[in-house]
Symmetry: D2
Subunit: 327 residues, 4 copies
């Protein structure tokens, strides 16, 4: 194995709170091990365009608490084909980058995987995505923050729902996975949770809602994952409005949307991001590659990149049962 | 003038953070002046149905910091016609309520006005609405909280907008008034603000956005009041997407929605609500009626109810100029 | 084993955010299993005095998001001796309470243990304490909230520390354990962390601080656990002020104090509390007793009460190493 | 009057949230009027040392939402004597600074005043201090944020106070003025407020507290301004602990301290800071000098610097009465 003297680090895909804390840990761990660090701006797009910037201790001062990513992120259609990746590799060589730390989600890991396969550059991934849908880590960087942002705002909606005894549909993020919705349902004290992992009959939903609304003469909150097969909050709202049984019910829906992507990371996300950033650099130095660092049962673990994006991470079905007991 | 021995208090219309702090002040001031207090639940609807509850010091303990309204709110179609109001008045007499404190917005003040005119019951209003569109007070109860909720979430959106150099349209509340949008624009560091009070040409908006996006290669934030004549965030998004000049621009829109109605009131809203609640009861005791208490230039002032809902409160056009200088 | 028809539930010791979410889960799970539930107010003191209240679904409505404990808590010197405990048992019998769920920390678990040993009443504990110092669970209810409250306020202190290039000592809770301090150090981007688990020489601290302050001409943050053997923030401040080498350094200290005990629980604490509350009742129904429910590696696990308070939970020494790499 | 081509801007004294928003407004307004802008780092100390940095639009990007001050602040003993000020003036001339905008509190305004008197350089002040104790503006930049930070943390303390029926003394900032304490008292629902502006007999305090604690069997919160003549929270705690009547009362005290100085500015502080920053530059361009811009009755007003620090701003005694009615 060749020696590593200079690493490159980048953030890619959807940004997530804690990416900056992770970047800080990567940079400082690398410097503490006498490595040079190049920041690659705007993910794979910047890699292809040679948008590189040297990082020192000060470049990552005072960012542990910030949302977004100081290295920016971008989509890169050019990286989708072999020519783009070859160009990226030429840039990495030009800048004498010996190894990579990739911070991002599913697509980022897949990109790192293929770059390694085609060009044999050592690469270690860090799971940064609010969706928590990466195999190989109990939670991803940004997920805890997104959850808290969602719940804080669900609390606000419940204030106004309660004031009017309303039925409220609240849509949270999660195109393919119900992690955020499920935990928001429990933490937000919701009466029902609809997620992509389970198929729900619209008739069952209606019946349950009518029974809840008549029983309690109070507000009722339904959390809907954006990827739920009934069509998100708007889809369900439409179906309910079309049903005359719901004529007398004061119904509203709201989509929390992009606010869930930003904000100062929580304590838990900062510590997770820091541990994984340190772990990524130490793994590279130990000769590992084509792996993602994750936290599994409170310990740093490595998982082959191929499994990270190839396998489906399951929600905890016990939690689903919980929402029924508690509502 | 007859003596007041028992007052009734209610919250009506859209709920606003700080209504509970106001209610607490009304109850405690009344009790301190040896008055009885009846809480009327669900606004005019509860008044008609006789949904009354006696209030003591403990009924309003530990609510100064809560959003929503413990007395609940509701729409009341029945109160729209004279028979409904006559029934409401019979209930007030039955419960020996001699005078009323009405907490709410535009419609609430109008309802109080007409009830007084038809049935001659002393009534004083407190301005509770997040929209800040009531004449007779510099700010309304709930407005400062809504503003802070909006800005906190705009900050989050900017994190992710910056990470991707995106153009973001953020819709805030304000069906008829641009108060929230205008102040969010300045406080949120937005590049453009669109409000109902001014007419904006879509072509001018497009030109400005294209120039901003090309000039800075950074994110651009546009704050849109829901009542803007161009159709809110969705309307503008559609117009931009239809224009081929915007093909290469990464454009997103988000609607903050009902989160702006809830949450723990800010310091300023709690103090305002407390002052106006005290002021309302003291005004009744001083023999005033058919007025709303407001805070004008830091002092409690009374304004005839007729003017409160009849006159249009103007935004501060200096602030509009500010958004252009600062962006 | 006798059948359980009615359970009693109480919160005891220092209150922690999430206790109400736990209580809600206990009550609703019990009701869903056709058990009666008695709330015991003010912990062991209320148990002795017979301060019992029947709980239904509505008693725990709208509390999942609140700090503190609706059942209140108290110290109970009377429960320290056998007579007090015998009186408590008589009350439990009088109210036909067949089994107990105890929510609290170290002392609460010890009390439950001894009550069971002397009077053979089934009891299951839930770990509620901000200190995270209970053996048998990865984290305790309230810990994540306390951590986030501390870090949010450390962020604020860093703003002002940075503005003046100051050296700031910030004391966080943790009389016997460094969990909060250690994680605050990493998440808050602190330059140094002092905890009870490790012995630090004052001379080493001074040397490191002088080197940091001279190297960077920036602010420096030191997180001190209240139980650190050097005497908390005040103790260290005094030692530094007595040393002439620190004459030119702008030094301040602040004690975060009781703010770390309150506030709305985080997403993670609400979900943890809900899972453990459900788990406690289900464990009782499964015939378990004299155990605490905890979450270990994401699964609900039972640990004998004796071990919970008898064994010392260790901090993660890897995290300690991390603070040195990252600062 | 000579023409202004380049202005200098600095922050000085205790930092306050919103100083960065003000700085941003100063820089962008100046640039919009074709002026050059020099940032003077570390207040008067940096002015003397020539610690100047040129500012463009990008220097103030993305800072409207940050606490602290990007220009830093410092104490300057050297500026206290005429030689120091003469040196400062030489630096200003060397860097061709024609006029100054000073952002800060009492001492900053006094310094600007004397610099103008001795060296005849145009100067306009912006009121930046959390204490709100500057004559010539209804509120100062940073005050609303400090108030909200204090109240948010008082809410947390009340959670734990309520859980134990405790008497809590909470000390907030305010060495010479009770603005923060008074508004925290009302907004935080406190039972008593002690401020420097009024003299309180310890015996009266004790009597009131005993009556409150016995009457309600609930928690009692006392807000104490740090400058209260009874010695802040510690002083009062000591006096109570020395009195045997308080032996049975569960008494705690906490000092909120420096957390009140930092954090992201509120909506209201951001808008205020922006308006005053614009107003300061426009005032200079209109030929004004030796004045502070303030917001009085919602309008930008100028006040001679001499009055700003020479006159005492009064608290609103109506608010003091309010705390008695409401508690």
């Amino acid at each position: 194995m060749r020696d590593i003297e200079r690493i490159g680090v980048y953030t890619s895909g959807g940004d997530a709170p804690g990416m900056n804390a992770c970047l800080r840990a990567v940079v400082r761990t690398a410097l503490a091990n006498d490595l040079d660090v190049m920041g690659i701006r705007r993910g794979y797009e910047g890699m292809i365009e040679g948008d590189f910037v040297e990082m020192d201790r000060r470049s990552v001062s005072n960012i542990v608490q910030t949302g977004g990513t100081v290295l920016k992120s971008a989509r890169s259609p050019a990286f989708m084909n072999p020519e783009g990746r070859a160009r990226a590799m030429r840039m990495l060589k030009e800048y004498k980058v010996d190894a990579l730390v990739a911070i991002g989600g599913d697509g980022t890991m897949r990109g790192a995987n293929i770059l390694h396969d085609e060009h044999d550059i050592p690469v270690v991934g860090c799971p940064g995505t609010i969706d928590n849908d990466l195999y190989g880590t109990d939670t991803t960087i940004g997920y805890d923050t997104a959850l808290n942002t969602a719940i804080e705002n669900i609390d606000r909606v419940r204030d106004t729902a309660d004031a009017h005894n309303r039925l409220f549909l609240i849509e949270v993020m999660g195109r393919d996975a119900g992690f955020i919705a499920l935990n928001c349902g429990i933490g937000g004290g919701a009466e029902m949770v609809l997620i992509p992992e389970t198929i729900t009959e619209m008739e069952v939903v209606k019946e349950r809602l009518l029974s809840l609304m008549s029983a309690q003469r109070r507000s009722t909150i339904v959390i809907v994952a954006e990827g739920d097969e009934l069509g998100g909050a708007r889809g369900i709202e439409k179906a309910l409005l079309d049903d005359s049984d719901f004529n007398d019910i004061d119904l509203r829906s709201t989509i929390l949307g992009h606010i869930q992507r930003g904000g100062s990371p929580t304590a838990s996300d900062r510590v997770l991001a820091s541990r994984l950033g340190v772990g990524a650099v130490e793994s590279l130095l130990d000769g590992h590659s084509e792996v993602m660092v994750g936290l599994v049962n409170s310990e740093v673990k490595l998982t082959p990149l191929r499994n990270v994006w190839g396998r489906k991470k399951s929600i905890d079905y016990d939690l689903l049962k919980l929402t029924q007991i508690l509502s």
